[in-house]
């Protein structure tokens, strides 16, 4: 029962790391020794539910899901000695990321408190100072690089003839992308995800393709390899490929 996620939980996470920290705390897991199979399952349940509820496009969560599955796969392999006596735990990098994120998440609550404390106070806004002859054009309080850039963008947008390039709405479905990947894998034994990205114009297509990979991974139609967290992913044929 404890694995049941409620809608209320879904909206409170800032990202995949936040969700993982929540799962670790809820289940009183040891961050040094994360039971990767269990947490991967819980994490995927969450991502599925979030997708169903269309809470957000799940890009960052999907990426983490792939990472978790990769760690899980590596945990099943016999431990390989790295050099002499150092044995690299596949979970180390994830643990470090979680801890680093946790430091800032804690600091965030301090900022929240400071914000609450300062909220009721308002700074005095001086009346514009007009020494005798001064022109009355609007004086900007202070200018930042960002203002210069925005101003230029605004001016140039109004200046140039509105370019009439039609925006084709790309309709991509999960099954289309599964078919597309199947086709590519027929021709090539191994695909680079980064290489695939270059083919796509829109972020939507990237995300759907990623979801397709995830789907195929679960059906064992493909295998996914990644050498390092956030490195390129390599997709190859799985045990049920072509069935």
């Amino acid at each position: 029962m404890k694995n049941q996620l409620h809608r209320i939980d879904l909206e409170m996470f800032e990202g995949p790391l936040d969700l993982l920290l929540f799962l670790i705390k809820r289940d009183e897991l040891n961050i040094y020794d994360i039971p990767i199979a269990q947490i991967t399952k819980d994490f995927l349940d969450y991502v599925d539910l979030a997708k169903e509820l269309k809470l957000y496009s799940a890009g960052d969560f999907v990426l983490m899901a792939a990472t978790l599955m990769k760690i899980k796969a590596r945990m099943l392999l016999p431990i390989e000695a790295n050099g002499d006596d150092e044995i690299e735990d596949p979970r180390t990098e994830l643990m470090n990321m979680l801890l680093e994120y946790k430091r800032y998440k804690e600091a965030t609550s301090t900022f929240s408190e400071m914000e609450r404390f300062e909220r009721p106070h308002y700074y005095h806004i001086p009346a514009t100072w007009n020494p005798q002859q001064e022109d009355n054009t609007a004086i900007l309080e202070d200018v930042k690089l960002y203002d210069i850039m925005l101003t230029f963008q605004y001016l140039i947008k109004n200046y140039e003839e509105p370019a009439t390039h039609s925006v084709a709405v790309e309709e991509v479905t999960l099954s289309e992308q599964v078919g597309f990947l199947n086709g590519l894998l027929q021709a090539k034994a191994k695909l680079s995800f980064a290489g695939l990205l270059e083919k796509f114009e829109s972020r939507l297509v990237v995300v759907v393709t990623f979801l397709a990979i995830l789907e195929m991974l679960r059906n064992r139609q493909v295998k996914v390899k990644q050498s390092k967290l956030f490195d390129d992913l390599f997709i190859s044929r799985g045990s049920t490929f072509g069935n």
Binding site: E11, F13, E14, G15, L55, Y56, S57, G59, D60, Y122, Y123, H124, I125, A127, W129, P131, D135, T137, A138, I139, L140, E141, D142, V143, L145, Y146, D147, I148, M149, T151, F152, Q153, L155, I156, Y159, R203
Partner: protein, 194 residues
């Protein structure tokens, strides 16, 4: 003195004076009667702002404050007494912060991204004469004149100065943020959980 409304005490005058003072300090534009009543809500609908202002103004005078309440543009504003102008000038001299009019900012933006440019280039983008903003920017050493156009008109070419780069912590004009770089940030829709 206590303000009454339908026989009910609303706000005591000293409390009212404090509220009006807080509003005068925080207001970004002159405080009007209408705005004052918005701020006070139901309890304020019968209270004349003018009367409170009068009492407050006399307090400021009696206690030798360096500011007074000025009636301006249909509202009230706190401004400093004229005798301190010579000191106040110092706040705006060689200020670390840039204070530019919208016109000057637009001109500066165009020169930054399109340099070197002629006055004509600038004016055709802005659609208005940009003489005085160019002069302001040259005076403040944010722009400089660098040579002339290589065409019949031989118009003066403007570009940003070293001071401009230093102010924004840039090594060269190439380091200006490019629009493409921040397009993601500027995109209206995004995938982040808010």
């Amino acid at each position: 003195m206590i303000y009454l409304y339908q026989g009910v005490a609303l706000l005591e005058i000293n409390e009212l004076k404090q509220i009006v003072e807080a509003l005068l300090i925080a207001t970004p534009e002159p405080l009007t009667e209408a705005r004052f009543h918005t701020c006070l809500g139901d309890s304020g609908s019968k209270i004349p702002l003018q009367e409170v202002i009068r009492e407050l103004a006399s307090d400021y005078e009696k206690s030798g404050r360096a500011f007074f309440i000025k009636e301006v543009a249909g509202g009230y504003q706190i401004v400093t007494n004229a005798e301190f102008e010579s000191y106040i000038k110092g706040l705006f001299s060689k200020s670390g912060k840039l204070r530019l009019s919208q016109a000057a900012l637009e001109t500066l933006a165009i020169v930054s991204y399109k340099q070197p440019v002629t006055r004509n280039d600038i004016e055709s983008i802005r659609g208005v004469s940009s003489d005085s903003s160019l002069r302001t920017l040259l005076d403040r050493k944010l722009l400089e004149i660098r040579g002339r156009e290589d065409s019949p008109g031989r118009a003066l070419l403007y570009r940003t100065s070293t001071e401009f780069l230093q102010y924004f912590g840039l090594n060269s004009v190439k380091d200006l943020p490019r629009l493409r770089e921040v397009e993601d940030i500027l995109a209206e829709d995004d995938n982040e959980l808010v």
